[in-house]
């Protein structure tokens, strides 16, 4: 059906909702990246396979569907049964029959698949409805509102969830200037990491005299451990399109691109499906919803370069040139793609736009803090119990995200630091956990919001090794155009490696500090300018650890191989576990007798430490 007038949309929405409401029970199988890796596509197939042979009242085949990422990746693959919100975790293909027979047929629960929350005394209790699980309870989902709830391939699901109503509202009752005013008033700032006020960007673009303007979406999410944009592109692609179309109306654009990184093939497929179906239904192309607005979107695929997430490099890449940044003394909003005025916003930013239009700028501005309004999606990764995708109001503390939602460090180890803002972000220690998460506070503390990756580290993490790792990522991903970034980060990484080997001096550390300052002022683009951050922020908060490597030639966390030895102490019960685990047969000993590590053979891999249940392996 083509929606050729605004009125038609409401009627179609009623129809879509009616159809969904007629489904008494719905089975949502998460096909987000984490669950998919756990085989959730096979689970969905199994549901369809069994249900196509077996008729169950209240359950139609259509009501058993795939969704995007539901967020709680640590518990995946996830299967959710609505309307009760029954939350089945770590589901395997073999469980499907049981879920059908027990829950769908008899209306009973499969206890073993329910989520278990740990009590204070070490016992645990099951929680049925996912809304009651702490991981979800403290979240507020705006950009992720539909992710995990709808089938990304069905535009009818999006319509039933209120999709394209913001576009209808915009086209029927707002002038372009009113749209820009609303976005400005909402205080929305770019979610890609820069935090530039979105309304101001749109206003600047709209004001420039030009025959052509572009509206581009940045889906080149490259930070290690970040997958917010991926989940929106895969799980709710229409929300991005709707945001872009509203922007196109506001700034007067007829053409746009979504730049998706090469590593996200499913995002490309789902976005392309969404674009095709939006075009078919009259939301893209000529005379959108029967109005004068004409705008179309193409997908531009990246070639696997991290630097192409930088605006000017992205635009070069879209234009078919080598993806290298240029100096932005003339901003891309003035001279962007093909030297025309261009609005480039991040996936999450665009996905938020429809909600602001529908709910109003004041509502949005009432969430979060004064200067960082609304919510922000984070991907929680690293040594944290509840890895996954979360969205919280700006201004909540890091502690709330990591401990209340994330459940604290894995295996109840001691929390040491959290790395925010991607590879060029920074590491914040425990005493910064009560800082509110917003653009300005994190920057002031020496880290940054970035796109929303959050990597938790425990006491078995060496901060020098962490800095070295992230510098290594940046050395590989530097485009190599300007000297401070190409040569500077390379030398910084080399010196950091020298520290982890116990070969560095205090002079080296001074050299690194000076070099870092020059790299950050003299580099051409944001990648270089923030490049030394992993080193600078870890040095700021963990200088003792650096000094231990340099002066005492020790790695306090027991990570840097050149500086540690493994020894077995008298707690050893002689259980043979470490002997079996050692890959180089460096451990000798008999049952119930103290084991010994042959230091000449030991490669310091840490396998013995990991398997020992009696704290008998010392790392020094």
């Amino acid at each position: 059906m083509r929606i050729d007038s605004i009125d038609k949309l409401a009627a179609w929405r009623d129809e879509c909702r009616k159809r969904l409401d007629s489904q008494k029970k719905k089975v949502l199988v998460c096909l987000g990246p984490g669950c998919l890796a756990g085989g959730s596509d096979k689970i969905l197939e199994e549901f369809h396979e069994i249900l196509s042979k077996k008729k169950i009242t209240d359950v139609t085949l259509e009501a058993v569907k795939k969704t995007g990422c539901h967020g709680f990746c640590a518990q995946g693959p996830l299967v959710i049964i609505e309307p009760e919100g029954i939350f089945y975790t770590k589901v395997k293909k073999a469980h499907v029959k049981e879920i059908i027979e027990t829950t769908l047929e008899k209306g009973e629960l499969v206890e073993k698949l329910l989520y278990k929350e740990r009590n204070g005394d070490g016992t645990d209790h099951a929680i049925v409805d996912y809304h009651d699980i702490p991981f979800y309870k403290y979240q507020k989902r705006i950009s992720l509102r539909n992710v995990g709830q709808i089938d990304p391939d069905r535009i009818t699901d999006y319509i039933a969830a209120g999709g394209y109503s913001a576009l209808a509202k915009t086209l029927s009752s707002m002038t372009p200037q009113e749209v820009i005013d609303q976005i400005t008033k909402s205080g929305l700032r770019g979610r890609g990491g820069g935090g530039f006020p979105t309304g101001r960007k749109w206003a600047t673009c709209a004001k420039i005299e030009s025959d052509i303007r572009y509206v581009l979406c940045n889906g080149d999410e490259g930070d290690p451990g970040a997958f917010m944009d991926r989940c929106i592109m895969e799980g709710d692609p229409h929300s991005i399109l709707e945001g872009m179309i509203i922007c196109a109306y506001a700034v007067g654009s007829r053409e746009g691109y979504i730049y998706v990184r090469e590593e996200y093939p499913l995002a490309v497929i789902n976005l392309q499906n969404a674009i095709d179906s939006a075009r078919e239904h009259g939301f893209l192309g000529e005379n959108i919803m029967g109005t004068d607005l004409c705008y179309d979107i193409k997908i531009a695929r990246g070639g696997g370069a991290f630097v192409c997430g930088e605006s000017s490099a992205l635009m070069k890449s879209v234009a078919g040139e080598v993806g290298e940044p240029r100096a932005k003394y003339v901003r891309s909003v003035v001279k962007g793609l093909h030297d025309k005025p261009t609005v480039l916003n991040n996936v999450e930013t665009f996905a938020t736009i429809p909600v602001i239009i529908n709910e109003g700028a004041d509502w949005f501005a009432s969430i979060g803090t004064e200067k960082s309004t609304g919510t922000k999606a984070f991907s929680l990764a690293g040594k944290v119990k509840n890895t996954g995708l979360v969205e919280v109001p700006m201004g909540v503390t890091l502690r709330k995200i990591i401990f209340d939602i994330g459940g604290g460090a894995l295996k109840d180890r001691k929390f040491k630091a959290v790395q925010t803002g991607g590879p060029s972000g920074g590491c914040l220690p425990e005493d910064k956990l009560d800082l509110p998460v917003d653009f300005d506070t994190l920057t002031k503390a020496g880290s940054m919001m970035g796109s929303g990756g959050m990597i938790v580290m425990d006491d078995r993490t060496c901060m020098v090794a962490v800095a070295r790792y992230f510098l290594g990522v940046l050395v590989k991903e530097s485009c190599g155009k300007c000297v401070p970034c190409r040569e500077g980060l390379y030398q910084l990484h080399k010196l950091c490696t020298k520290i982890t080997k116990g070969k560095a001096t205090e002079d080296d550390l001074n050299l690194m500090e000076n070099l870092s300052r020059v790299i950050s002022v003299a580099s051409l683009c944001g990648l270089g300018q923030s490049g030394p951050n992993p080193f600078v922020s870890t040095l700021r908060y963990f200088r003792d650890e650096y000094m231990a490597h340099i002066r005492d030639k020790k790695c306090p966390a027991g990570v840097c191989r050149e500086l540690i030895t493994f020894n077995i102490n008298d707690q050893c019960t002689g259980c043979l576990a470490c002997i079996a685990a050692c890959p180089v047969e460096a451990i000798t000993g008999e049952k119930k007798k103290l084991h010994v590590i042959n230091q000449d053979l030991c490669t310091k891999c840490g396998s013995c430490y990991e398997v020992c249940n009696f704290d008998a392996v010392d790392i020094k």
Binding site: A305, V307, V322, E324, R326, A327, Y329, V330, V475, K476, E477, S478, C479, G480, K481, C482, V483, P484, R486, E487, G488, L489, Y490, Q491, K494, L495, L511, N514, L515, V518, V521, A522, S523, L524
Partner: protein, 258 residues
């Protein structure tokens, strides 16, 4: 015209022209490696960084590459602060680390009191500083036969797939523009080799000496509208020919006068 202040002196400049040009016009010396008058500025080497501020910025200042910064009314520029000295010194230090044998870099570094690099020198460094002058001039010629390949520290200037560049015409513009003289070629008899590609050199009809490559001659004849036989003789023979013609003219004029 706009007024800007450079090191305390008010200077007039055309709005939109690049800051580096104005600074140099004032006789102020700023080192550069990637800048060349035949090329659009690129901002690769970062040596031309200067400090800028404006009265209304309230003391806030920033560092910009002057080769790329269009001047605007009211700009206040400092070109030689201690921080800028440190930036330039560090950049030269880093370049020297990767190309310790480059005499060009050594000389520039000496001016900043740097006798050797502070970092571990890469003794196998090839002196390429990735200024892109070669690829940019090749692009200006409309050929783009070579380009930057790979990323970061691995980046090299190379022809497509490291093979003989199909679009190269053997003009040597890349080799001549290179500030650190990295790009090499050989001319043996009537064969030129550059980027592993061999070119036939045109032999002068008169003296037999090698002139330019045939591909380059064809390019110039086509693009510059030169007469086809223009490259049949070498420059020296052309000069001799011209001198003889002039001499003949003079002799004739003398005859007429007598």
């Amino acid at each position: 015209m706009v007024n800007i202040t450079i090191n305390g002196k008010v200077v007039r400049a055309t709005e939109g022209e690049m800051l580096l040009d104005v600074i140099r016009r004032e006789g102020i010396n700023i080192p550069t490696l990637c800048q060349h008058d035949a090329l659009e500025p690129a901002g690769n080497c970062r040596l031309c960084m200067v400090e800028i501020t404006r009265t209304e910025w309230d003391g806030w200042k920033k560092y910009v590459t002057s080769c790329l910064y269009p001047v605007e009314e009211g700009l206040i520029v400092s070109t030689h602060t201690s921080e800028l000295h440190e930036i330039r010194k560090t950049i030269l230090d880093l370049l020297l680390a990767n190309s310790p044998h480059s005499d060009v870099l050594q000389k520039m570094a000496e001016e900043y009191g740097l006798h050797k690099t502070s970092y571990e020198p890469n003794l196998e460094g090839d002196n390429c500083i990735m200024c892109y002058a070669c690829t940019r001039i090749c692009e200006v010629l409309g050929k783009s036969a070579i380009s930057p390949v790979m990323r970061g520290h691995e980046k090299v200037i190379a022809p497509p797939f490291g093979e003989e560049p199909p679009d190269c015409i053997g003009c040597l513009a890349c080799a001549h523009i290179c500030p650190t003289n990295v790009i090499t070629w050989t001319d043996e008899n009537l064969t030129r080799t550059i980027w592993k590609k061999k070119f036939e050199l045109i032999a002068c009809e008169k003296c037999g000496k090698a002139t330019i490559s045939r591909d380059f001659a064809e390019y110039l004849i086509e693009k510059r509208g030169l007469p086809k036989e223009y490259f049949n003789t070498c420059d020296d023979c052309k000069r001799v020919e011209l001198a003889q013609k002039m001499g003949a003219l003079v002799d004739k004029a003398k005859e007429v006068a007598l």
